[in-house]
């Protein structure tokens, strides 16, 4: 058993350095309406090194998509409000950029792939047009050159270039998603945000898309934030993992850290709820209960009501962050107690 390193929560955690393509510090995003306020993202900090793939895991409603949108400063303005924090992309704070700067950054420095390919493409423009538009916005070139690049991108994602003149409805779901990827990559972004890009696709296509992502990382050294709720995908392509719950990052570490040396009860619950292929007759073990109402988050740990290790203290007091190593930390006050551990076995 490794030594527990106990530290109180400190502000900006990210290891400093120009190595980071993305640094999020103390980000809080809320959705404010007449009736209520949704606390979507609560004081999170994370970083991403150049050429790295960070997996962002969590259930629906955990705040993953909102975080990604915040990176592009695209959180819909009424009703979304960025209450605090900074997001540095390659050193520049996205939240402080002017509209013009944002327009230049989006699509060329930072790109996003959205979840549902069926609705992400504009039905009245050709696929080639939609890719070329991105190129023309960000690079100084002629229409013909842009279109040429569009065709190249299509080939890159495995679609015959002749199909550039076709419309989205003429493509299947998997191919549509590949078009979306082509659009996102057209201007060779430094940072690629992928919001559950394979959720809407069937498994074989999923595999193709993931292979494509890995290729990109190798060939172009694209840094990625990969949002998903599928642990299998994380295992396949991510270097580091951050687990989100109710708007907070409750565990973060390298792939090994999180999978083999799981520390947070929630993460443990996620692994436990996976069906065991070796033991088909075993009962499924879902995490009991539901994620709390984001308009009424508790003062203490948001996971406490569902946590098998929760104590009264967990419910009342805000959680502290505890580091296990340079790369691995968890947001759970029970680790204050020496000797506390969860049931999941560690695998070295």
């Amino acid at each position: 058993m490794s030594e527990y390193n106990m530290e109180n929560k400190s502000p900006a955690e990210a290891p400093a350095g120009t190595d980071n393509i993305l640094e999020i510090r103390d980000l809080t995003v809320q959705f404010v309406t007449e009736d209520e306020t949704v606390e979507a993202v609560n004081d999170i900090s994370m970083h991403l090194k150049k050429g790295e793939i960070l997996g962002l895991v969590g259930e629906t409603g955990a705040g993953k998509t909102t975080t990604a949108l915040a990176i592009l400063n695209l959180v819909p303005n009424p009703p979304g409000v960025i209450k605090s924090g900074s997001i540095l992309v390659d050193g520049k704070d996205v939240l402080k950029m002017s509209v013009r700067e944002l327009e230049q950054t989006r699509g060329s420095d930072i790109s996003m792939i959205f979840q549902d390919p069926m609705t992400s493409l504009n039905p009245v423009f050709t696929v080639g047009d939609q890719i070329a538009e991105s190129v023309m916005l960000h690079e100084n070139c002629t229409k013909a050159q842009a279109y040429e690049r569009a065709e190249e991108m299509l080939e890159l994602v495995g679609i015959p270039r002749e199909r550039a003149h076709e419309y989205p409805h003429q493509f299947s779901g998997g191919m549509k998603q590949r078009v979306v990827i082509a659009i996102a990559l057209a201007c060779n972004p430094k940072l690629l945000l992928c919001d559950e890009p394979t959720t809407a696709l069937d498994v074989t296509i999923q595999a193709q898309v993931l292979d494509l992502m890995l290729e990109l990382k190798e060939k172009l050294n694209t840094s990625m934030v990969f949002i998903t709720h599928d642990l299998g995908i994380i295992a396949e392509i991510c270097d580091r993992v951050a687990v989100m719950y109710a708007g907070r990052i409750i565990e973060e570490g390298t792939l090994e850290d999180v999978f083999n040396r799981t520390k947070h009860p929630y993460t443990e619950g996620l692994f436990n709820s996976l069906p065991n292929i070796e033991d088909r007759t075993a009962e499924l073990k879902p995490i009991p209960g539901l994620m709390p109402d984001p308009t009424k988050l508790p003062k203490g740990c948001a996971f406490a009501p569902r946590c098998p290790y929760a104590t009264d203290a967990c419910i009342d007091t805000p959680q502290d962050k505890y580091r296990f190593s340079d790369t691995h930390f968890v947001l759970c006050s029970r680790y204050k107690e020496p000797g506390f551990r969860i049931q999941r076995e560690e695998i070295s």
């Binding site: 592009l72 509209v99 989006r106 060329s108 039905p123 009245v124 538009e133 916005l137 979306v180």
Partner: protein
């Protein structure tokens, strides 16, 4: 595409038959007879001869049969009152009506589409609420009253614009076009607004913004193109209304169009003119609707497939069906 057009043209035939049947019988049932009105012009024998010629000595079915016989030979008959071919009369008046209808639709489109877009993008704001109120007020005004009031203000009091006739080119078109246009504006603004509101929620706009497309372009290019279909539908319907219903405005402004011809002929029981003009108006409106439907294909590539698809493959793509035009009323 061609097959589709031919199919639509063929569908006109039952409409022409039906319309002619209904109108002819209604006119015939009305009390009075055009021949009686001008009877004094003719000698007794001549009158009797005319009676026979037009079939007034026989049943209404015989008269209809004569009418249809004529129609099949390509003729719409003759006006008893004006003593001219119905076709000629119609063609004489049509340009004025077309001018008015087009100008009105133009006024309405130019004003209502930007307004509708603005209302949608600033949902809930003062502009939005005001434009909705203005729309509903415009819809509620009897447009001949608006015409009268405008005429009083601009023609009589301010002497800026003429108030009758078609003699001064564009100037005399202004008041009538605004009068008719205001009524059209209401529906167009509301449709533009609601169509844009639907489109604004769509994911592909988010994709466009994530690409770095400036907001203005997102709205005016990415969103508007998709919102166009219901808008075009409404423009088509309103154009139809303008063509058929500018009747009252033509009266107010003494505009020499088809509407007045029809009303005068109804009053004079000039059956052939009424039947012929209404048939032609119906055909004209159908042509406008056909043009609208073809325009859909240009705007929405999903519909293009539906039009030119050979019969079997029709079920393949699942694009939005060409919208139920009337439900939009």
């Amino acid at each position: 595409m061609h097959r589709y057009i031919i199919k639509r043209v063929l569908m006109l035939i039952p409409i022409i038959l039906g319309v002619s049947f209904i109108v002819f019988f209604m006119m015939d049932m009305a009390e009075g007879n055009a021949l009686d009105l001008i009877g004094l012009e003719y000698s007794e024998e001549k009158l009797a001869e005319l009676y026979r010629q037009y079939g007034y000595d026989r049943s209404v079915f015989y008269r209809y049969f004569l009418y249809m016989k004529n129609l099949l030979h390509g003729s719409l008959g003759q006006s008893i009152i004006y003593k001219k071919d119905v076709w000629e009369l119609y063609m004489q008046r049509l340009p004025a009506t077309l001018k008015l209808a087009s100008a009105s639709v133009l006024v309405a489109v130019v004003l209502s589409i930007p307004l509708g877009i603005k209302a949608a993008t600033t949902h809930g704001s003062l502009v939005d609420n005001t434009s909705m109120v203005v729309s509903i007020v415009g819809l509620s005004m009897p447009n001949y009253w608006l015409g009268l009031m405008l005429a009083v203000l601009f023609a009589q009091k301010l002497h800026w614009l003429p108030s009758s006739g078609d003699l001064n080119g564009i100037k005399s078109l202004i008041l009538p076009a605004i009068t008719v246009g205001t009524g059209l504006m209401a529906t167009m603004t509301r449709t533009t607004r609601s169509s844009m509101l639907d489109v604004i929620r769509q994911d592909y706009l988010r994709t466009a913004r994530a690409k770095g497309v400036p907001e203005k372009v997102v709205i005016n290019k990415h969103a508007l193109r998709n919102a166009l279909i219901p808008i075009i539908t409404v423009v088509g319907t309103e154009m139809g209304k303008a063509l058929g219903g500018a009747v009252v405005t033509e009266n107010v402004f003494a505009w020499p169009g088809v509407g007045r011809l029809i009303i005068d002929s109804v009053n004079q029981r000039d059956t052939a003119v009424v039947t012929g003009c209404i048939i032609l108006t119906a055909v004209l409106i159908s042509i406008v609707q056909l043009i609208v439907d073809i325009l859909y294909a240009f705007v929405d590539p999903r519909l293009r497939a539906q039009y030119s698809a050979p019969r079997k493959k029709k079920a393949k793509a699942a694009p939005p069906a060409a919208p139920e035009r009337r439900a939009a009323a």
